[in-house]
C-alpha cells in the first residue's frame, strides 16, 4: 500500500469529502508525526505503535572503501516500536 492508495480508500469511504481534503487529511497526519519527532516528542498510537527519537552516540567510524577513520558525531534517529495489538494481529492471535 502506498500513500495514494491510502488516500483512495479513505476517499471511497467518505464520498461526502473532496478528494483534495482527503489528501490534506492524510498528509497532515504524517506531517504531524514527523514534526513531533523533529521537536524531540514521541507519538503514541495505542494498538498501532509508537514513534520516538533515539540518540546515537558519537563514534569513530571507518570508511569501508578506504579504511580511513572518520569521526561520526552524535545524532538523533527516528524509531518505531510496534504496538501490542498489531503485533498480536500479525501473528494471528486476534481477529
Amino acid at each position: 500500500m502506498i500513500r495514494s492508495e491510502l488516500i483512495q480508500k479513505i476517499a471511497e469511504e467518505n464520498p461526502h469529502l473532496y478528494q483534495r481534503d482527503v489528501e490534506r487529511i492524510v498528509n497532515t497526519f504524517f506531517e504531524e508525526v514527523t514534526g513531533a519527532m523533529a521537536r524531540g516528542d514521541r507519538v503514541e498510537l495505542r494498538g498501532f505503535g509508537a514513534f520516538s527519537v533515539k540518540k546515537r552516540d558519537a563514534r569513530i567510524g571507518r570508511n569501508p572503501r578506504t579504511g580511513e577513520t572518520v569521526h561520526v558525531e552524535e545524532k538523533y534517529v527516528p524509531f518505531f516500536k510496534t504496538g501490542k495489538l498489531l503485533r498480536d494481529r500479525l501473528n494471528g492471535k486476534v481477529e
Binding site: 500500500m1 502506498i2 500513500r3 491510502l6 480508500k9 479513505i10 469511504e13 467518505n14 469529502l17 481534503d21 490534506r24 487529511i25 492524510v26 497532515t28 497526519f29 504524517f30 504531524e32 508525526v33 514527523t34 513531533a36 519527532m37 523533529a38 521537536r39 524531540g40 516528542d41 514521541r42 507519538v43 503514541e44 498510537l45 495505542r46 494498538g47 498501532f48 505503535g49 527519537v53 552524535e74 545524532k75 538523533y76 534517529v77 527516528p78 518505531f80 510496534t82 498489531l86 503485533r87 494481529r89 500479525l90 501473528n91
Partner: protein
Amino acid sequence: MGEKTLTRMDLSEAVFREVGLSRNESSQLVESMLEHMSDALVRGEQVKISSFGTFTVRDKSARVGRNPKTGEEVPIQPRRVLTFRPSHLMKDRVAAGNKS
C-alpha cells in the same frame, strides 16, 4: 528539545484545524487511516508512505531463546515482526531538529 507525548487526540486535533470537519469526524478519519494501514500489514503487504517511511512485515524463523534471569532455554516460535524504515527526509528532519 521536546519530551511531550502526542496521541490520537493530538493528531485528530491537527486534522480538525487543517480541514473544516468536526472533531468527531476528524478523529474517525485518523482511526480509519490507522486501520487501513494495520489491515494491509496483517495481509502481509508493505506500507510505503513517500517522504515518511516504509513499514515492512518480516518473517522470523523459530529459534532457541534463553530466559536471561534463569538461564533456562525456551523455544521461540516462528513469528512475524514489523519493521519501520524512515525515509531520508524524516531522518534529516529528525537529525536537524534535535541537534544539540
